[in-house]
């Protein structure tokens, strides 16, 4: 069953597989709730209570508080659900990309343009 054994890791890349899915379930469930305007409002009104309601662990709570995407991913966050969290603060995937790569948004965008040359 070689297809099932874990292949070489890919640098800078977390595969969202079963083990990440288990770790991140509560966090992702909270982020999934942000599809609804009321949930986003409730989160903004009382962030701590909202995180507690979804049963986030301490690592997840700290990552949420820090708005830190790499920490959120390490805590089991899935980028598709995290995008809804980022959206609350008006951040798009380029802002998120810049934060994760430690670049300014301008530099991150320039890097993308350069990929086309």
């Amino acid at each position: 069953m070689t297809s099932v054994s874990a292949p070489e890791p890919i640098p800078g890349t977390t595969i969202f597989d079963g083990s990440m899915a288990m770790r991140g379930y509560a966090l992702n469930k909270m982020c999934y709730s942000f599809n609804e305007a009321e949930s986003r409002k409730a989160f903004l009104a009382d962030e701590d209570a909202y995180c507690a309601k979804y049963g986030l662990n301490d690592e997840q709570k700290a990552a949420v508080k820090a708005r830190n995407v790499l920490q959120l991913i390490a805590a089991g966050g899935n980028i598709y659900y995290l995008a809804k969290f980022a959206g609350i603060f008006g951040l798009n995937v380029q802002d998120v990309g810049a934060q994760q790569t430690g670049m300014t948004v301008e530099d991150f965008k320039a890097k993308l343009v350069a990929a086309g040359v």
């Binding site: 899915a21 599809n35 609350i88 008006g90 993308l112």
Partner: protein
């Protein structure tokens, strides 16, 4: 009998939805992207398909991890677009074709594909952005009906490229055994290379994308040799969306010719590929 008249590939990036909403068609960033679409629209205008099967991945609107199916087929009379949480205004619903949906479901399950069937389904930008790009004017859709086909790209294990291609082939047989004179177009959405998450965010692989744009036309089997892990490594974590293109390509059972293509870097974090493939009987 129904016939698959062609296949289209297109990116489905949410930023495109924003740009459409703000009518940024002449903006220097967007112009080279939007300018690629009129020939495809002209073809659709001429061919006038009756049904569009839209192969996409749900990005956390209709499905959550409590029930995450590998392959889902819509069987609803209409599909609602809903708030995804980050500002895209929901569009009016899209009409479905439940009769053809059920024919496809019956046919494909009989071929050992273990579908999830959805008689209610909210469609997200993965579905609506391609629809808006191809039919910017809803009035021109005429009686066009839609069938969403959703592939899991959110949580691993994803179905392999080979499995997705085989699903496409079964889909092609299903459509062409439907006892009604319908012209069907299959739309493979998403891709090409991109990665949103991790320290490797912003990864794009132009050479790989160009290779895919070539192989998907004449030698799609070559692409089915990759594993999902290969795709993540070569095309980025979300570049694995290539499997959606492979479902589309599998459904083209006739003589395939490329009528139009475009490739543009970057749109948002992505290498955006557009293809119009005719499927001659």
């Amino acid at each position: 009998m129904a016939r698959i008249v062609g296949g289209i590939t297109t990116s489905h990036i949410p930023a495109i939805g924003n740009a459409i909403a703000r009518e940024m068609f002449e903006d220097p960033y967007w112009k080279p992207f939007f300018d690629a679409y009129p020939p495809v629209r002209a073809w659709l205008d001429e061919v006038k398909p009756d049904v569009a099967i839209v192969v996409y991945n749900d990005h956390g609107l209709n499905f959550f991890l409590d029930k995450m199916p590998t392959f889902s087929v819509g069987a609803a009379p209409e599909y609602q677009n809903k708030d995804e949480g980050w500002g895209l205004q929901p569009l009016p619903p899209y009409p479905g074709d439940p009769e053809l949906s059920w024919h496809i479901i019956n046919s494909v399950v009989a071929e050992d594909f273990d579908l999830c069937t959805c008689q209610e389904m909210a469609v997200d930008h993965g579905f609506t952005v391609p629809m808006s790009l191809l039919w910017p004017d809803r009035a021109k859709m005429g009686g066009l009906k839609t069938i969403p086909l959703v592939v899991n790209t959110v949580q691993h294990p994803l179905p392999s490229p080979a499995r997705c291609f085989k699903l496409g082939q079964a889909l092609g047989r299903a459509v062409e055994s439907f006892d009604k004179d319908l012209k069907v177009v299959v739309i493979g959405t998403g891709g090409l290379s991109h990665q949103l998450d991790g320290e490797r965010a912003g990864f794009i692989n132009k050479n790989f994308d160009l290779m895919c744009l070539e192989k998907i036309v004449d030698d799609p089997e070559a692409l089915t040799k990759y594993s999902i892990h290969d795709l993540v490594r070569l095309a980025g974590a979300q570049g694995a969306e290539l499997i959606l293109w492979l479902v589309m390509r599998g459904a083209l059972t006739g003589t395939v010719s490329k009528l139009h293509s475009n490739y543009h870097i970057p749109i948002s974090n992505t290498g955006a590929g557009l293809l119009l493939l005719e499927n001659a009987a």
